[in-house]
Symmetry: C2
Subunit: 144 residues, 2 copies
DNA sequence: GATAGATACTTGAGTTATCAAGTAATAATT
DNA sequence: AATTATTACTTGATAACTCAAGTATCTATC
């Protein structure tokens, strides 16, 4: 008789589902990858609509170097702009452009539409709690 | 006033946490990546301890080609073995080796230890239900 | 029982991330 | 105020995926 470890099962389901979600969203967001969407979303709701790269890294869950490489093509096609921080010359602010906003708005609609199919409606009430648990796990896992 | 879409927040937390988990586990499982762990775990609990590559792809959430590339080095270092399917010459069975089992057993202990830190104990009772919800989302997202 | 379609897998080319190591600027310590 | 440590970011080398296209085999249909 095999004893099931629910924690392990949980992590394995999590990785599986997210790999699948990543592929699905990457081809359903009008050219935006899921990580690019996350970047634009976070810039859009940020105070003053700007953020440091390191804060974005934290928000997306990538490393600083991952963010550098993710932002490079996004700047090239004009979704974001760079600004400087007068108080700290090490940091380069990232800002969303107006074309970035347009992309984001469209992608957000696509996202809502898809999520409506993917998340069972009777489970929607549990989502807030689930998000919080997942965020908590992320926080505990994070090692700078 | 910004209306929060819990579905979107859920997806964003999911990607963030999983990116972090992946990095953490990749350096905490005694040389095994999280995906490699998943492969070995699934082979280990499979009937007859063998599986087709396509079934593994489904279990891990990768594409068939991703599995081909993931298994290649695993075979090279002897964690898995290949076998053939008498009834279908297209498929190549994958089996866990005894050294693979040893690796898995050690990694499973590491995994349990880490998860004990990462998952708040008061939330553990909810894990089964959450796994099921996440699996359901994965199933709905999956497009072969 | 030939042919068209589906399935299982692999491969080439490209993308997206990692880590480790480096640069430059700021903050803390003495 | 000089030194050391820390932080923000970038870069070179590499790993781990993806998609699209290919091969081989099996299944269904006529």
């Amino acid at each position: 008789m095999q004893k099931i470890n629910h924690s392990i099962k949980f992590i394995l389901e999590l990785t599986r589902t997210l790999s699948i979600l990543n592929r699905r969203f990457d081809s359903a967001l009008g050219g935006l990858s899921l990580n690019e969407f996350t970047i634009l979303h976070n810039l859009n709701i940020a105070t003053n609509e700007k953020k440091r790269r390191i804060d974005l890294a934290n928000k997306v869950g990538l490393t600083a170097s991952g963010v550098t490489r993710l932002l490079l093509p996004m700047e090239k096609i004009g979704l974001i702009k760079n600004g400087k921080n007068e108080n700290d010359a090490r940091t380069r602010y990232v800002m969303i452009s107006s074309s970035g906003k347009r992309m984001l708005d469209k992608a957000t609609e696509d996202m809502k539409f898809l999520l409506n199919e993917l998340i069972p409606s009777k489970e929607k009430s549990k989502l807030k709690a689930l998000s919080e648990l997942i965020a908590e796990i992320g926080a505990r896992t994070y090692i700078k």
